[in-house]
Amino acid sequence: MRSSLRRTRWATALGATTILALGACSGDGDGGSTATDDPILVGISLPLTGDFSEPGKGVQQGYEAWAKITNDKGGLLGRQIQLKILDDQSNADRVVADYEQLIGSDEADLVVGPFSTRLVVPAARVAEEYGMLFVEPAGAAKEVFSQGFKNLFYAAPAVANDHYNHLAEYLLALPADKRPKTVAYAAMDDPFAQGTAYGLKDKLEAAGIKTVVNEVYPPNTTDFSSIAAKIASSKADMLVGGSQYQDGVNLIVALQQLNYQPKLAAFSGAPTNPEFAKAIGNKTEGVLSPTGYSPDAPYPSNKEFVEKFTAQFGKAPDEDQANAYTTGQVVAAAVTAVGCAEQGDCQKKLVDWVHGNKVETVVGPLSWDQTGKPQGAHMIQQWVGGRIRIVLPEAVKEAEFVYPKPAW
């Protein structure tokens, strides 16, 4: 299986011994083929099973959509894109082994990132040490960018801590008597989820808004009644959940059971999920969420992406898919500009190009600082009239911000 994918791309670059070795291993008989008509092999490791399997599969769809859409248009540099996706079982040991295999054994021309911050850092280290460009769709926590990686880029508008920037601005611009005075935070013990909540917390605390509850729960928490009891008992004006999907739902249901009614409730992951409304008994009105992506966003490539993705998978893309697609777009832009896609010196050129340029993507134009951190902010969405709409920033809003939120 592996050998059929192994290619003889280094032929000219590395000399006769390598040709012999690889030719002997590959056994596909076309050792004489020139580099230019071979497909570009893109190596990816994703959590297709285990704890992160759900978002992992979303990311997979995004990559597959990117490969299909690009290939339908003739590929990159006239070469078809071929994805090789390995399952890392949501395990850091695995993700490293996978990238070792993709780079060392499968000799992928390009590698792109896995899902979840916990897996991005170890994966990025492998890519870094083999000198590969590493654009990733999911390592949003600030820790990712403090490791000194030079080849890493996060393909989304903003890192976790900046997700709520627009909301913070809005709240702090309110007259003092209308601002929420107390806030309860509950965040999953996950760099990404905590990052979103704490980014907002830092800004609100700096403006003198009191934190009355600050709870962190492990990712495997299933019973939120105690956390909910603390929040309800604090009677905080505002609730901020650093959540992924199910934990956010569980927390809301537990709070509803206790009849806690905040003036504002924001959750990082859950409200954009298509099943969210039903899961909390359709009492969604006024619930907030930051988002890096909206299918309705006006960016040029987005219309094509939404259309073709929907045709391919029978539903509109959401953020995970869009981030993977964005990753593909960034890599494609670099490859097209530099004119190469292979291991070796080419990678350095690709890295340099991404550092120096702005890329138009389905989540808007992206550029990065030296650590690979994107320089943007997320939009704020809110459930208004039974639909989730963009309410902040003013420039792109689809509906008016509802405050205080109605009872749930």
């Binding site: 099973t49 285990g50 704890d51 399997s53 759900e54 013990d189 709870e215 962190v216 729960y217 492990p218 495997n220 928490t221 299933t222 019973d223 009644s225 105690s226 956390i227 009891a229 603390k230 309800a232 008992s233 999907y245 199910q246 934990d247 739902v249 569980n250 249901v253 537990a254 509803q256 059971q257 206790l258 009849n259 039903k278 899961a279 909390i280 008994g281 009492k283």
Partner: protein, 295 residues
């Protein structure tokens, strides 16, 4: 300083949780009593039952409680099969150790199959009354939690009556307490042991259904349950059902109260601290049970 209302709320939550712990620990205690088997797969079966309840509700559209009509007998049968078909065939000398591994293997198989059938997505039953609550002396109790607790209490009461009032219950207790003597009064201890296992697993069916009412489930959730349950049966004194029940309620209560100052994660450590303290200072457990030291 937490308010009185929050304390009271936490006490109520702790008791509700403790009830469920007690039911589940009762099953584990039964297995241990019968065969000195530490049944790692108990909580995997628990999650399996929760999935079946979820499936019943989501796919068939009927109340999850009705799934017990199928799961309780099914699990009873599975328990009998597990004991007669696998565990009783292990060498007696290494039974305790090997049974741990065998039931561990069963847990892995269940987890893998659940993941295969239902994916790793977190699932939750959405009931019409899921977010309803009752006001009780200033505390609010979720209706679903009350139902889960009621189920646990009913099941425990039924188990108690069965053990105390029926011939089978007597035979099972006799088998647990002195297997050879039980054989000598004419009890078919092999068969009773099999049924005892079935009974233990049936508690997992009920517990899983209760669990599914108000929490999220996912295939690897059983690891989250097995630790506290193990701790409970050791603290309660291995082999003692009343001891396990007392330890379950007490630890559930402490966990719930500790969450106020310490948060979710640190509060969970109470189970393991209690476990280590028990083994260090009172290996036979705090609530009876005389087997721990010997086994």
């Amino acid at each position: 300083m937490p308010s009185g209302a929050l304390l009271f709320q936490s006490v109520i939550l702790g008791l509700l949780l403790g009830g469920l712990y007690a039911l589940l620990a009762a099953g584990l205690t039964l297995y241990f009593g019968i065969m000195r088997v530490v049944m790692i797969a108990h909580s995997a079966f628990l999650i399996l039952a929760a999935y079946l309840a979820w499936w019943t509700h989501t796919r068939l559209g009927i109340d999850p409680l009705l799934s017990m009509i199928v799961t309780v007998p099914l699990f009873f049968g599975a328990g009998v099969l597990l004991q007669r078909g696998l565990l009783s065939r292990l060498r007696a000398i290494t039974l305790t150790m090997m049974s741990v591994l065998l039931t561990f293997a069963v847990a892995l198989i269940i987890e893998g199959l659940l993941g295969y059938a239902f994916t790793g997505t977190q699932r939750r039953i959405q009931l019409g009354y899921g977010s309803a609550g009752l006001q009780v002396f200033g505390a609010r109790i979720a209706v679903v939690k009350l139902i889960a607790f009621g189920l646990a209490v009913l099941a425990l009461a039924a188990l108690y009556l069965l053990m105390k009032k029926t011939t089978f219950g007597w035979a099972l207790r006799a088998t647990i307490q002195h297997r050879d003597a039980a054989r000598l009064v004419g009890i078919d201890t092999e068969r009773v042991a099999g049924y005892g296992f079935g009974l233990g697993l049936a508690t997992a069916a009920i517990g899983g259904t209760a669990l599914s009412l108000d929490t999220t489930i996912y295939p690897s959730l059983h690891w989250h349950w097995i630790g506290p349950l193990m701790a409970i049966i050791v603290v309660g004194g291995l082999g003692s059902v009343p001891g396990a029940a007392a330890a379950a309620v007490l630890l559930g209560l402490i966990q719930s109260l500790l969450q106020i100052p310490l948060g979710t994660t640190w509060a969970q450590t109470i189970f393991y601290l209690a476990l280590f303290a028990t083994l260090a200072f009172r290996p036979q457990g705090f609530f009876g049970g005389r087997l721990a030291q010997r086994f």
